[in-house]
Amino acid sequence: MSVLTPGRFSPTTAGGGKRDVGWMTWFFPAWYAVFGVIICVLTRVTPPPRPDITAADKVAFFNQHHLTIQIGFTVLLILLGGAAMTNGLVAYQMKRMSVGSVFAYGYIGGMGVGALPGFLLVTVCFLTAAFRPDRDPQLISLLYDVGMLSYNGSLGCFSAAYLVLAIAILYDRNNIFPKWFAYVSIWQIITEVIATQMFVFPSGPFAWNGSIAFWWAVVVFSVWLVALIMLLRKAAAAESADEPALD
């Protein structure tokens, strides 16, 4: 693929880009890196803890990771707005497309709706569970389930955002993003439709730690995210520095 050609991203070979857009383009992977550290290393929600364990095991999970959950999720509460900034960058590039602003607004709205159950609810649930560790184990168990189901199972909220992104790319005549990225976005919709099965299965391939519902979807999401980061850099570099500001 031509995206992999060396030197393709060098700003000097293309329009040069705008400085503020360039900064946001660097902020995008930086924010996701911090987010990755928080969810994987500190709060331990990814890779997901098991859904098919007893209430006592869930209490033990919160006791074991008590401090890191509190540190990680309180930091995330402050940084959560960064997700909106990364969405704004994608929407900015979408507004440069020939399709008009409506898809960009749809993307921002869809991603914003998804962020509430996708990030915020698990944060509040886990912080509440860690807040009083001596609570009734059944209540701790409930917060564990609500948090994980909301975090992993609510991804369908993002599918509208992926859909408008895919349609905008396919209709765009300014070639801001390559057409194949529209198809990768459509795969995302498919995997997130399957994620709804987590609400039915406490174990097996369709559970929230299942091979199909979770792990295979993570592979597709990783491909999507890495491609998006590269394409945002390319789009920023291809924009002329003296291009007039968007409405």
């Binding site: 194949w180 459509i186 439709v193 099965q197 391939p205 369709f206 295979w216 592979v219």
Partner: protein, 172 residues
């Protein structure tokens, strides 16, 4: 479009591999559950979808041969077959659910998820066929590469069904 087709085949390949792994862990239960599937509906649906692919392939030939009107009619034929497949699939789901074959059984959870994801692909395929009809009807358009790309996608949906049919209905 080849990025879509090859990548999608890889994604479905992942589902098939996981299905085979779970099947190998409990072959007797999977085989017993499989007996409740109505293979006649499966065969009819396979024939319907293969027919739709024939319509779409003929439409591509017509576009190349400079006969867009006939191509549009053939695309309608392909879309009608696709709709017939969906109707029959919904009836099959209805039949299975009434008979108590729900996703509480591992085989049937795979059955509903895999055929459901395939149905979503078919729905996208119907939208694609609509885009192709619009392309052919717009004066001064009718780009051959676009018709070929859409047809490639439709054939992929067909190919996936043939594999699903073999894995879920036929394999003993």
């Amino acid at each position: 479009m080849w990025v879509m087709v090859l990548g999608d085949l890889v994604i479905f390949g992942g589902y098939f591999i996981v299905f085979m792994i779970y099947r190998s862990m409990n072959p007797t239960a999977f085989l017993a559950a499989q007996q409740h599937l109505n293979i006649t509906i499966g065969v009819v649906n396979t024939v319907i979808l293969l027919t739709s692919s024939w319509f779409v392939a003929q439409a591509v030939l017509c576009v190349r041969g400079g006969d867009p009107d006939r191509a549009v009619r053939l695309l309608w034929g392909g879309a009608a077959s696709g709709v017939a497949f969906m109707v029959l699939k919904c009836y099959e789901w209805y039949r299975e659910i009434i008979a108590g074959q729900t996703n509480s059984d591992m085989f049937y959870s795979f059955y509903y998820v895999i055929t459901g994801v395939h149905l979503v692909h078919l729905l996208i395929g119907l939208i694609v066929l609509g885009v192709l009809v619009r392309e052919l009807r717009t004066p001064g358009r009718g780009r051959v590469w676009m018709i070929e790309s859409g047809a490639t996608y439709w054939h992929m949906v067909d190919l996936l069904w043939v594999i699903i049919f073999a894995l879920l209905y036929v394999m003993r």
